[in-house]
């Protein structure tokens, strides 16, 4: 699966554990020190809301703005490892370069262990595992298009209203998987920013999550993470073609 590819296309792997209890910012701030070894940088996450009210005679508009500290973002010095403490969730993420599931999962476990000991929160209400992939498809200099269908099995089948290539597309499907615990949301689309010259970059985003009753036992959370990962891998493999697999295994020279 993803871990077995020479160049897995993972741009960001994310695991989020959500709970019903909410912790205030000041308390989260106290926890931050315990994560400093892995995440030396921290930034406040500010939430901002604005309400508009119109008087009955429509002559006056009242605007109130609310600004508050919602959580703390912890980062490694290369900004690739991230821990997000919000009032009601803990999120561990790893952006590219991907370090593999085993190492990533260990980091999730470590973060959750520290956090649950400090916060005394054990009951999880939602688990989400999300992988955002970017597939960089090369094309020749004299061509401006490439056939995405050769790489993905999930692509808009649109009437040929033009002989020109599709400029933009984005598609999302959402459904329960065959394992009823899990819901999947899968999105593909052309990347807004195209990072490489003479390439078409496609984003392939798989989000697996459950809100069904989750046992309070610590070990169960990690069994569920592995289960979610299996569902994610199944979807990943179903949505790509052998040509895409070859791309991920190509011994391409890096600079």
């Amino acid at each position: 699966m993803v871990d077995n590819y020479l160049h897995p296309p993972v741009q960001e792997a994310i695991v989020e554990l959500k709970f019903n209890a909410a912790k205030p910012y000041d308390e989260l701030k106290k926890y931050s020190k315990r994560f400093e070894n892995d995440y030396p940088i921290n930034e406040d996450i500010t939430s901002f809301s604005q309400n508009f009210g119109v008087s009955p005679d429509s002559k006056q508009i009242n605007v109130t703005t609310h600004h508050s500290l919602a959580g703390i973002r912890h980062l490694s010095t290369d900004f690739s490892s991230i821990l997000l403490l919000n009032g009601d969730s803990i999120t561990t993420a790893q952006s590219a370069p991907y370090i593999g599931w085993d190492r990533f999962c260990k980091q999730v476990e470590k973060n959750w262990t520290v956090f649950s000991r400090l916060s005394k929160i054990l009951q999880v209400s939602r688990i989400g595992v999300r992988y955002i992939n970017r597939i960089d498809i090369p094309y020749e200099d004299n061509k401006s298009d490439t056939n995405v269908k050769e790489y993905l099995t999930f692509f808009p089948d649109v009437p040929a209203f033009s002989s020109r290539p599709v400029d933009e597309f984005a598609m999302t499907v959402s459904a329960f998987t065959d394992n009823e615990r899990w819901q999947a949301r899968v999105t593909t689309g052309r990347a807004v920013i195209q990072p490489l010259v003479n390439h078409l970059s496609i984003v392939f985003d798989i989000d697996i999550f459950t809100t069904k009753k989750i046992d309070g036992k610590f070990s169960d959370h990690f069994n569920l993470l592995n289960e979610a990962r299996r569902e994610k891998n199944k979807i990943f493999e179903m949505y790509i073609t052998d040509k895409a697999r070859a791309l991920f295994n190509e011994a391409k020279p890096k600079i």
Partner: protein, 255 residues
């Protein structure tokens, strides 16, 4: 409601100014001052928010919340860490003089610039090897170090870094260039041989200016310069290939 910043599409396109034009040599404010290297050698773009109409509350906490990836559906604004300047966001990134608003603002700008550079570099980790990537991190930390920055200069823009990364991937620049910044915040990559220097000025949206200088026998120098969009750069350089074979600069560009 979270503050989101929309990122512009930065592909080559309507800015093409093909055809080499002789121009004066551009003198950046910090020419080749750091990290000249002899060694050779990184959520979701991704879509425009409006493209998908996704209700974020239904999605596992993504990099939007984590804020690492400027390809994202959205990206938390710089305000998230403005109140943390005095605590030093980035260890060993220099110290801010307390109660000095000018210094604090500069510190935040440099931190944002460094953050953008590293995050964008991580996105290229499937195309740039780790030695090159880590070497770039060292260079950029030196370049943007708070304690040595002239407050009159503009920190490098994220869009300039994007052009630089597209440049080195496009040319397959195995040899890491020296880095400098112009007064207006454009990153300058300089490759050198004992008697020659090729400098490429990376402006947003793939806009490139380049200069070539060669020392002559009488202790003077001769130079050439041009400007173009990134995609046209190899052709411009090839036009004077007799004096600038790509191999000399360790560009593995094959055309």
């Amino acid at each position: 409601m979270k503050l989101n910043r929309k990122f512009n599409h930065s592909t080559a396109g309507p800015h093409s100014e093909s055809g080499a034009k002789a121009e004066g040599i551009f003198i950046p404010s910090r020419v080749g001052s750091i990290g000249e290297s002899t060694s050779s050698s990184g959520g979701l773009s991704y879509f425009r928010k409006s493209q998908l109409g996704i209700n974020r509350s239904n999605i596992a906490q993504s990099s939007e919340g984590i804020g690492t990836n400027p390809y994202n559906y959205g990206h938390n604004s710089g305000e998230t860490y403005t109140n943390q300047t005095e605590n030093s966001l980035m260890p060993s990134f220099g110290s801010v003089v307390e109660n000095d608003e000018t210094s604090a603002r500069l510190y935040r700008q440099l931190y944002s610039s460094l953050r953008a550079a590293k995050i964008q570099m991580n996105e290229y980790s499937n195309h740039i090897d780790s030695e090159w990537r880590l070497g770039f991190f060292r260079q950029i930390e030196n370049l943007l170090h708070f304690d040595s920055w002239d407050p009159d200069d503009n920190p490098t823009s994220a869009e300039s870094f994007r052009t630089f990364l597209r440049l080195v991937c496009y040319l397959k620049a195995a040899k890491r260039p020296g880095l400098s910044v112009t007064f207006d915040g454009s990153l300058v990559a300089t490759w050198r041989t004992p008697n020659e220097a090729l400098s490429v000025y990376c402006s947003p949206n793939d806009r490139i200016k380049w200069t070539y200088r060669e020392a002559t026998n009488n202790q003077g120098s001769q130079s050439l310069a041009g400007k173009c969009v990134l995609k046209d750069l190899p052709n411009q350089l090839k036009a004077i290939l007799s004096i600038m074979p790509f191999e000399k600069w360790a560009f593995e560009f094959k055309g």
